[in-house]
Amino acid sequence: MATDLQTAHQIDDTGIDLDDQTLLEMYWQMVRARRLDERVWILHRQGKIAFHISGIGHEGVQVGAAYAMRRGHDYASLYYRDLAFSLSLGLTPLDFMLAVFGKAGEPTSGSRQMPSHWSSRKLGMLSSSSPVATQVPQAAGAALACKLRGDDRVVIVTLGEGSTSEGDFYEGLNWAGVHQLPLVCLVQNNIYAISVPVHLQMAVPNVADRAPMFGIAGAIVDGNDVLASYCVMREAVERARSGQGATLVEAKTYRPVPHSSDDDDRTYRSRDEVEEWKKRDAILRFQVYLRERGLLDDDAIAEIEERVRQEVDEAHAAAEAAPYPPPEDTLFPVFAPDDRV
């Protein structure tokens, strides 16, 4: 497991059981999320959309984690950075673009929520909200349900390192420990919560250091290494599925862009720091690795870029052309009808 970030420019593929096809698919997922995300930043600069919260920089850990799940079977409770994660679970670029433009037919919330508040019953994504960390004890509840029913589902919940300061995080993982729940809590530690650095969130060096206090397993992984992330997550998912309880996984990563389209990160960190981290970018590293394995060359890379560009173009165009929700959609009922099971 590569934890020394200064030297961790390589990909650690120890114990990887993925075939070439899947490796290329994972690369495609990462590129697709990145290009879609970049397009949305452009739309924001053009004044065409109101808000964007970006997943750039986190694609490695997210795609690795998604591929470690039994997708469509396990539950995921995701947070706003998880664009690559959501796409890997089956959300489409058009779905996301509809959210970004706040258009009718947006599938996760009918454009009631801001973009990046993932939800899909069909894809097994629990509904996420804006108050950070609320999803952690809810995910523990879903995991408790899986355990009580004796089904073999696992619940994956994600959040940022700053959000681990909330009580919800502690109370949720405490349940996971007490009841040995089939839960994997993945913290994407990008060392900032908006502007606040991680050493002002906690006095221990690693989020995962807290795992013992819950009586659950802990693991640290280089989140910019997609395969190392996959491996650690797969181990955690298997631990959960086999009844051995929860894992707190901490992925060390970085957000090379502002917190959101409303943030100016020059007010709290140096350009040198950002540039240094960009050299460890998850996509670049995976690309180098796949080239070395002979799975990618310039032509193949260009072909993937072109395929992704087309998909993003189409999603962008369709979402821009789509109608806005009728104002009366505000009055969507708050209660499910009695015959809802």
């Binding site: 004890p137 879903a142 708050v334």
Partner: protein, 328 residues
């Protein structure tokens, strides 16, 4: 028909619902072996085991959040908050999460869960074992709220709450747990969430109440009938959200005078909404000021019995308020 206590009615409701539907489970502090500090879940742990009657960690936020997550994926949790006063650590999970999930997902996800909490004063519980918290939650769209005043309704409403596809909060008048007895038929029945009940027909003054205060209002109505010849129409709201506006308005139109009794603080309490509704939609029937008899605007019921008695409306103070209004 057998007479049972209000708490026994609640216990029966949970027992029957757990028997009927294996997705139902209970969690909360001391609900297991101990059967709850008020004994609402007595015997259920022995009958259904530790997987269905789960002693939670002492952490209210998680009691509710565990319920939300489990409910979303198909369970029917009943979450007990030991005292309503301790519900606030879970406030965010209730008002920002449970209440919003159906709306915020355009109906994709729903949260069929029950949150039970004993509320109210009169038991020497002091500032932090006596609070009424319904107004905080009634303000938030997305939460159904019921407050039973008698064993029959307690059992029937709790059973409906368990079967409802939405989050339902059940505030239980703890002073009435053993004090209030009533007939409950053997066998299956439910009381629907929504309809209020007219519990006394009358022509002079309409009195609205719920929970413990409704119990006192019936006593007060009898007192003024006997001593003063005043005829009260009494409405037991039973369900605070969604409010049965039809019964509220029709009962007002009979008398043109309204007294709303609630033991919560006066300011922005639940009765303020009833008053606003009446003035808005029944203005031309009004034959006097719309009055409220409530606890004072102090943040809890004090411990010493002198102050507790001062705080709580009781049959005598309610009767006085009815006489006052009848004379207007």
């Amino acid at each position: 028909m057998p007479e049972i206590t209000l708490i026994e009615a609640l216990r029966q409701a949970m027992d029957e619902e757990m028997e009927r539907d294996e997705r139902v489970f209970i969690t909360g502090e001391d609900v297991g072996r101990r059967g709850g500090v008020f004994r609402a879940t007595q015997g259920l742990y022995d009958k259904y085991g530790p997987d269905r009657v789960i002693d939670s960690p002492l952490a209210e936020l998680s009691i509710v959040a565990i319920g939300i997550g489990a409910a979303m994926v198909g369970m029917r949790p009943i979450c007990e908050i030991q005292f309503a006063d301790y519900i606030f650590p879970a406030f965010n999970q209730i008002v920002n999460e449970a209440a919003l999930i159906y709306y915020r997902t355009g109906g994709d996800w729903n949260v069929p869960m029950v949150i039970r909490a004993p509320y109210g004063g009169g038991i020497g519980g002091g500032l932090y074992h006596s609070q009424s918290v319904e107004a905080f939650f009634a303000h938030r769209p997305g939460l159904k709220i019921v407050v039973p005043s008698n064993p029959y309704d307690a059992k029937g409403l709790l059973k409906s709450a368990v079967r409802d596809p939405n989050p339902v909060m059940v505030f239980e008048p703890k002073k009435g747990y053993r004090l209030i007895k009533g007939e409950v038929p053997p066998g299956e029945y439910t009381v629907p969430i929504g309809p209020a009940a007219v519990t006394r027909e009358g022509t002079d003054v309409t009195v609205y109440a719920y929970g413990m205060m409704h119990y006192y209002v019936l006593q007060a109505a009898e007192m003024v009938a006997q001593r003063d010849g005043i005829s009260c129409q009494v409405v037991d709201l039973r369900t605070l959200v969604p409010l049965d506006t039809k019964t509220v308005l029709e009962s007002f139109k009979k008398t043109g005078k309204a007294l709303i009794v609630y033991e919560d603080n006066r300011f922005l309490g639940y009765g303020a909404e009833i008053a606003a509704l009446l003035s808005d939609e029944a203005f031309e029937y009004m034959d006097g000021p719309i009055r409220r008899l409530t606890g004072p605007d102090r943040p809890g019921v004090p411990f010493a019995h002198t102050m507790q008695d001062f705080y709580m409306p009781n049959p005598d103070t309610i009767a006085d308020a009815i006489r006052d209004l009848a004379a207007y």
